[in-house]
Every structure is written in C-alpha cells, then in structure tokens.
C-alpha cells in the first residue's frame, strides 16, 4: 500500500510537517517494500488553493492513505472524494518510522472532518 506523510524538507529522512497544503514536501512510502520517495510540494508557493493542489498531487501519485497534522476544508473534501484514508499525526511524533509503525498498528486517529477553517484570502 502506498501512503504519504507530510514532511518539512524534500528528503526521505526529514521530520513530519504538521501542515498539509503548505507542507514542504511529501514522503511517499510503499508499506510492502519499504521503498521511500520524497516529492516537493508544488502547492508551497501557490497564491490560492494550496490544499486543493497538494491533494491533487497525492491523488496523481496514486497514494491510498495520508498522514498529516492538519487538513483544511478543501483539502479534506478533495482527498475524501478520491477515497484516500486520512490520518492525524500526533504533534509530538516527528519521526517517519514511528508514524509508519503507528499507522500499521492502527494507532493513528482518522481525520473524519477538516481540522480547521480555510486560510483563503485575496
């Protein structure tokens, strides 16, 4: 299964980024093989709709589940419409290995709704 974790730099050993739409990058992990790839977040510099663009990026990468600290309303709507599982990274857990382990043992809470209002502005 392919999962993505938001990370603070485009490196596979970077710590988790608590933001979704404005996360620096995504670490895409194949939980079967353990293979990891870091993808910069193209939405980082977006003037608007960063959550939408970040969600689209993960959908296009074929990810099935996401782990992040927060999901805005539009990002949540897009990811949920695409059928991705959305999980919440506890604020104190920054290590990817720890997050993957918690995900596989079913210890991560699901984000059933958006965690915050939008940040949209002109």
């Amino acid at each position: 299964m392919k999962i993505a974790i938001t990370i603070t730099a485009p490196q596979t050993d970077a710590p988790a980024d608590p933001r979704f739409g404005r996360a620096a990058a995504f670490c895409v992990i194949d939980t079967d093989s353990g293979a990891r790839e870091a993808h910069p977040n193209p939405a980082l510099e977006a003037a608007s709709g960063a959550g939408v663009r970040a969600a689209q990026t993960l959908i296009d990468l074929g990810v099935e589940a996401v782990i992040s600290g927060a999901y805005g309303p539009k990002a949540h709507q897009v990811l949920a419409a695409a059928g991705l599982g959305l999980y919440l990274a506890p604020a104190e857990v920054k290590e990817l290995d720890a997050l993957i382990e918690r995900f596989q043992s079913g210890a991560l809470a699901r984000a059933e709704t958006a965690t915050n209002g939008g940040h949209a502005h002109a």
Partner: protein
C-alpha cells in the same frame, strides 16, 4: 463622448488617508467640473461615509465558473493542471470545483479535450451608484464575503454607466484599495495620474515603494501627499526627492482634524482652510496628467 481625466488615490499602507483625500478632491473638483468618484476599495468601500450619496441603482456582478458534464469527462486532469488558482481537483471518479477560488478566466473550459465543461454565472459582489447633494456622480463596488478576487468587480465598476449619472464627467477620482495587490493594479491600470497618500514613517515608506513600483511599471505620472506630516522621520521625503516624486500636499497631525474626520465629516467640512490647498493639489494633478510625456 470625451473620456474624463482619471486620477487614482492609492497608498500601499492602509489608514493613511486615501478616502479622506479622494473624497475631498472630488468635493473640490465638483465646484468647477462635472465629477465622478469610484470607490474601488471593494473589500471595504467607505467613501460613501464622507460623501453621503443617495444610492439609487444597484446591480450584481458575477463571473463565469466551470460546470462539468460527468458523462463526457474522462478525468484526464487537464483542467486542474491549467488552473492557476487551484479551483479544480480531478479525482478518478469526480471533478470538484471550488467557485470561491475561481477567477473566471475560462482556461479550463478552453483546454478540456472532451468539451465536457461549460460556464455558469456565479455572483461575487455588487455595484451601487447614485449622486451626492454636492453634485458628484458616485459608484462603489463591494465583494461578497468569502470571495477571493475583487478584480472582476472593478472591471464591472469601471465599465458601468448608471442612468442617474451626468453624461460626460470631466474628472474621475478613484479611491483605491490599500496594499499592492491585483485590485490596486486594476484600479491604477487606465488612469492618467496617481496620487499616493503616505505617512512619514517606516511603514508608510515601505508600502509607498511598492505602489510606486506599480505606477512606474504602468508609466503613470505620480505625485505624493504626506498625511500626519511632522511625525516619524524624514525618510519619505528623502525617497521622494531621490525618485523625483513631487509632494503636492502636506497635512499635519492635528487632533481637531482627527476628531472631525472620525465623526464622518469630509476633510473640507472638518477643516475649510484646506479648500485652497486641495484646489492646488487638484490643479497639480491635472497638470501632471496632461503634461507631455
């Protein structure tokens, strides 16, 4: 019909006195010329507080937003790729459209290889117009809460000729939004001169520079008015001298002015002694606009 001479009052920094000066300029201009004022601060229009027009006409402004025919859509994703504002997301089963992010540019409809997209009008704000007792033709735009771009409202505002207006104004004053955003550019785009109102502080100077850069890019004759003159430092004056920006008016910080303006009076009601300096300011701006370039 001859075009009016258009003057925009902008600032960069908020709260420097754009509306105070644009409404006062309109009042002075109306004593000599057929004058209109456009309140272009579509996120918080408030020139009506100083000019007190009776608003008799109203119209809604809408933009074309995309709608998807899911029967034709192959979910190829081209529409989401082309959208600069990330107003579309394409999932394997469904296209999501976020109207509030859409700027109505039509690129998605144009690029769709399946002709699966059409446009539907979505309201984003309002225009109001009327006249003042002082004989000024007045109009303002207002953006609906939650909408992201005031630019389509400004385009509609600039094109509108309400029935209540006189046919051919000589002077058009535009009260610009604060900042240096797209809405400020749209306000400045087709004017003949810009008056930048600033205050002599590092904050005033920082934001002034941004708007001066826009005016230079647009090739606009530009002048400066310094409000709350005497506070802060001399950096704004030094900058204006260095950039050859004429300072056409100075308004010192005075308690009685602030009190009267805070009650909703125009600058001329608050301080009639400014009538003459304002008339000279208007004349200076007209000369700047009409000077050969």
């Amino acid at each position: 019909m001859p075009e009016p001479l258009r003057i925009a009052v902008a600032s960069g920094k908020g709260g420097t006195g754009k509306t105070t000066l644009s409404s006062a300029l309109a009042l002075v201009a109306a004593g000599r010329y057929a004058t209109r004022l456009l309140d272009c601060d579509v996120e918080a229009p408030n020139a009506a507080l100083a000019l007190r027009p009776s608003l008799s006409e109203q119209r809604a402004v809408s933009i074309p937003v995309p709608r998807v025919d899911e029967a034709r859509c192959t979910h190829c994703g081209r529409c989401a790729e082309v959208c600069r504002f990330n107003a579309l997301a394409v999932t394997p089963r469904q296209v999501l459209v976020f109207d509030e992010l859409c700027h109505g540019c039509g690129s998605c409809v144009w690029i769709c290889p399946e002709q699966a997209m059409s446009e539907s009008e979505a309201r984003i704000g309002m225009l109001d117009a009327g006249t003042t007792e002082t004989g000024i033709d007045f109009a303002q735009g207002s953006l609906d809460v939650g909408q992201s771009s005031g630019v389509p409202i400004l385009r509609a505002l600039k094109r509108w000729t309400p029935a209540a207006w006189r046919v051919s104004p000589r002077i058009e004053i535009r009260d610009a939004p604060p900042g240096a955003s797209c809405a400020v550019v749209e306000t400045l785009r087709d004017v003949d001169a810009a008056l930048l109102v600033t205050e002599p502080t590092p904050f005033g100077l920082h934001d002034l520079k941004q708007v001066v850069a826009i005016c230079r890019e647009l090739g606009l004759p530009t002048a400066v008015a310094i409000n709350r003159d005497g506070i802060g430092d001399a950096a704004v004056e030094d900058y204006c001298a260095e950039q050859a920006l004429p300072i056409l008016l100075r308004i010192p910080l005075e308690r009685h002015l602030a009190e009267s303006l805070a009650q909703g009076n125009s600058l001329i009601e608050a301080a009639p002694e400014y009538r003459e300096p304002l008339a000279r300011l208007l004349q200076g701006l007209i000369e700047l606009a009409e000077a050969p370039r």
